[in-house]
């Protein structure tokens, strides 16, 4: 399809599924029904894409993509025409100050800011740091309070590197946000980023002599719903937790999952008590339990979890899903999507009740994000 035809076609579509892989980004588009999908890509062929965001605040329709070339380093690329053209070539957008002694390895997360600060975007990177843009992703500066944190020297890299992979915003309080780092744990600021306190009470660190340290946990991902931001759900390196007080305390809610090891966790777009996870058998055998590909869902804030497997392979499925490989859209009947390390992309247009294969031979999938064009 010619570029302009593809672009025009995509503008008529309502739903985007944005897939980052080890060898480029793919943009899937569909209408509200989400039955038929068009696959476009790869964008940035040969480059790894660990982070994507779609930002349509302030009248924009902007894709922000964290790309990583094995040779030439990492940067953020922008598109204001849904991938028809991309920013660049230009200077590396995210750069550590020389005084830090650090160099950017990877952009792990891109998070548009609160609705009432429509030009703010955050990025979580490796080595662990938080960057902020005040011009919708054009230029970036490190959040100094975290860059210079007194714990930094004691943060240890996990298997994926020392990455800041999760950013959680309080939608109504500009002073409060939280981040998660592997392996450092969950940190929250209540003063707009000037100071950050570890908030890991009750979260296990099975790989340390002290199983409940102040910090040092290997938090894999944290999610919440904007309507109840203080209620957080955390998938740990062993352990599935909930907090009802912005991380001041955590309770184990692994009630009915086959394993409490895993990476991906995602809140439902409309119900703060509904959350999806994809358990992994163990840290030493990182495939779905029993080689059965199942998404688990709670609808009661973790009191119980049930399997969703209609349409998913239930035998010989030696699959795993990375921390950003699970996403939801914002349609009234929510779409749920996830991608595996073997390059299979699955989607549901009915809250996860039934599943279809959207693509079955992509490169290994690093992240899955969504956008609903015109949604606010």
């Amino acid at each position: 399809m010619l570029d302009w035809q593809l672009h025009t076609s995509r503008m008529r579509q309502s739903t985007l599924v944005l897939v980052g892989t080890t060898k480029g980004a793919f943009i899937l588009s569909s209408d509200d029904a989400r039955e038929e999908w068009t696959v476009d890509g790869p964008h940035f062929p040969g480059e790894a894409v660990y982070s994507i965001a779609y930002d349509q605040r302030a009248g924009r329709s902007r894709l922000l993509v964290g790309v990583h070339s094995n040779h030439w380093g990492a940067t953020v690329r922008l598109s204001d025409d849904l991938g028809r053209s991309w920013s660049g070539p230009e200077r590396q957008a995210i750069r550590f100050p020389e005084s830090s002694g650090l160099s950017l390895a990877q952009v792990w997360q891109i998070m548009p800011g609160r609705p009432d600060e429509p030009d703010v975007v955050y990025a979580g990177v490796e080595p662990a740091a938080l960057f902020r843009s005040d011009d919708a992703g054009e230029s970036w500066a490190p959040v100094e309070g975290l860059l210079n944190h007194e714990h930094r020297a004691r943060w240890m890299p996990g298997g994926g590197g020392l990455c800041l992979h999760t950013i959680v915003l309080d939608p109504s309080n500009r002073d409060r946000m939280a981040i998660a780092i592997s392996t450092a744990g969950f940190y929250r600021t209540d003063d707009g980023g000037a100071t950050w306190r570890p908030r890991n009470a009750g979260v296990r660190a099975v790989f340390l002599p002290d199983k409940y340290p102040e910090f040092g946990q290997c938090v894999h991902k944290v999610t919440h719903h904007a309507s109840r931001p203080e209620r957080l759900f955390l998938q740990n390196h062993w352990g599935l937790y909930r907090s009802d007080d912005w991380g001041d305390s955590w309770q184990d809610v692994a009630n009915g999952v086959p394993s409490d090891f895993g990476f991906a966790i995602q809140s439902h777009p409309h119900d703060p008590d509904t959350v999806y996870v994809i358990p992994i058998q163990s840290d030493e055998f990182r495939v779905v339990p029993g080689a059965q590909l199942r998404v688990y869902r709670t609808q009661d804030a973790g009191a119980t979890w049930g399997a969703l497997d209609d349409g998913l392979p239930q035998a010989h499925a030696f699959e795993s899903v990375l921390r950003d490989g699970l996403a939801v859209d914002t349609h009234p009947r929510a779409g749920v999507y996830f991608g595996t390390r073997s390059g299979k992309l699955y989607g549901s247009n009915d809250d996860g009740e039934t599943w279809k294969t959207l693509a079955d031979a992509l490169p290994p999938i690093c992240c899955v994000k969504t956008g609903v064009i015109g949604a606010t």
């Binding site: 080890t22 040969g46 070339s69 094995n70 040779h71 030439w72 380093g73 940067t75 660049g88 070539p89 230009e90 200077r91 590396q92 750069r95 550590f96 100050p97 020389e98 002694g101 650090l102 160099s103 950017l104």
Partner: protein
């Protein structure tokens, strides 16, 4: 002509399509040569050096036919007429 810096195809967009950057001013080392390139094409050198001024792990630089990994690194001396070649290392997956 003082020093020529030959670019791999992947980096030519960062130099407005040029495959070679000619440096008119004299430079004593590879680091100085890259500094002159950066003055003209800063985005190009972002891809070659980290924020700390270190050569990226999967990038090789040759002075003449020899890799600077086997010479003095970025401190390798360059002479009048030297050709510096930037090459992506053999890596990937």
């Amino acid at each position: 002509m003082a020093v020529s810096v030959v670019l791999p195809r992947a980096l030519t967009p960062y130099a407005h399509g040029a495959g070679t950057v000619q440096l008119d001013a004299s430079c004593a080392t590879v680091r100085e040569a890259l500094g002159q390139v950066a003055a003209r094409w800063p985005a190009l050198v972002d891809r070659v050096l980290t924020e700390q001024g270190e050569l990226r792990r999967h990038v090789n630089i040759f002075v003449g036919d020899e890799s600077i990994a086997f010479l003095d690194g970025l401190s390798t001396a360059v002479d009048e007429g030297t050709t510096i070649t930037i090459v992506p290392a053999v890596s990937g997956g």
